[in-house]
Symmetry: C2
Subunit: 232 residues, 2 copies
């Protein structure tokens, strides 16, 4: 296995509705074949115009939006609401976000975050003339463990799950089902160079196993259907 490099893409600045993210990324990054470009949900939502006005002095204004974006409420405690979104994601506040958004507005998740990733990828392929993968990432909490990690909410041209089922391990034993959520691990790796306040909304992961570069979908591969989920 060669080394991986995680490169922050600096200088993208504020993103506004209608901005072409592929153009912005291609301008600020020297992309190479086989790169995986991780783009945070916030700028994807902004570019796609997923901003809605709220009353910043009225918490109910935000809460109404959270319920509107949810197909199911899993838990409530105080101000915290854990919901399932239309995409099938389980997260706080239906992914409706107020930080890094202009006062008086909230950012909603992209309507179809796999499609968002595909659109950015198609743009980058046309603009930078390279073949690569794109992940749209967001910052979610987890059950059982404190703290947030970045996960993939959309992907294109890069595997979401890689199955090691049936691969022999180092001792020659056949491994049982081992499906690794590589898109989530790539999103987490990218977060390490982004920070939350540093204004770095994009990172490149260079050196990814070329076998992982294939058509894929977060929604189809990573979202666990409620029927097979033991914790919903």
């Amino acid at each position: 296995m060669p080394a991986l490099t995680i490169i922050p893409v600096e200088g993208i600045g504020e993103v506004a509705p209608g901005d072409n993210l592929a153009d912005l990324i291609a301008e600020h990054a020297a992309l190479e074949n086989g790169d995986v470009v991780v783009v945070t949900q916030k700028i994807v939502s902004k570019a796609e115009g997923r901003l809605v006005p709220i009353d910043p002095d009225d918490p109910l204004s935000h809460k109404a939006l959270v319920e509107q974006e949810a197909v199911r409420v899993l838990r409530r405690r105080g101000d915290l609401i854990i919901t399932e979104t239309t995409h099938g994601f389980v997260c706080a506040n239906s992914g409706v976000d107020l930080s890094n958004v202009e006062k008086g507005y909230a950012a909603l998740l992209p309507i179809d975050s796999d499609r968002s990733a595909r659109r950015i990828r198609d743009g980058l392929k046309g603009k930078a003339h390279v073949d690569l993968g794109v992940i749209v990432s967001d910052t979610f909490g987890r059950a059982w463990r404190r703290g947030l990690t970045d996960v993939a909410i959309g992907c294109a041209g890069i595997a979401a799950l890689v199955s090691l089922q049936g691969t022999a391990d180092a001792l020659g034993r056949i491994l049982q089902v081992t499906e690794v959520a590589v898109a989530d691990e790539l999103a987490s790796a990218a977060e390490l160079v982004m920070g939350k306040s540093s204004g770095v909304p994009v990172a490149i992961v260079r050196g990814v196993d070329p076998e992982w570069l294939r058509d894929a979908s977060v929604r189809e591969e990573l979202v666990r259907p409620p029927a097979e989920d033991l914790f919903r």
Copy 2:
């Protein structure tokens, strides 16, 4: 933010009870100040002699071990048992593992995985004369999402959680509580160069924010106490 590099450490080979992991790692890696060394649980358990004989032809033999290592069973479905371990980890089979272990044996989690990380770190500081962080990682499933990711089960000299509470975001707004589980993200990043069958049980993350290099504990920072957990 500078770039991060994730470097696989090759050539460590099979690890046996009593082996000194710090010596093995120092022999096979050119460590630098500020590196974070991620070591998979499997070789930590082996070096610490956490191997117990089981009857490979009797599934009950494995199951008895899983129950012995659990303080609580959260869910059962078919052969799958989700338990809480003595450490407070919620995972499949109490972390008792048969893959990459000699036939007829199972590997248990280290008794105190933060202490395991500290011991490796102390050894590396003495041997390689560098100051660095150490994470012990394991591969866990999650609620709501398919696939496994590597998380931190122990750490030393590297933050488990980094709080961005109160830091101004790029628009000057004060962010609400944002606590990032950087030790889990580092473990996930490291997994990307390890694979499950490639015999690479250690990786180095180089270029981590120096402010993250501090005393820390997975058990104290990342394990969510049952009383504050909405999903237990």
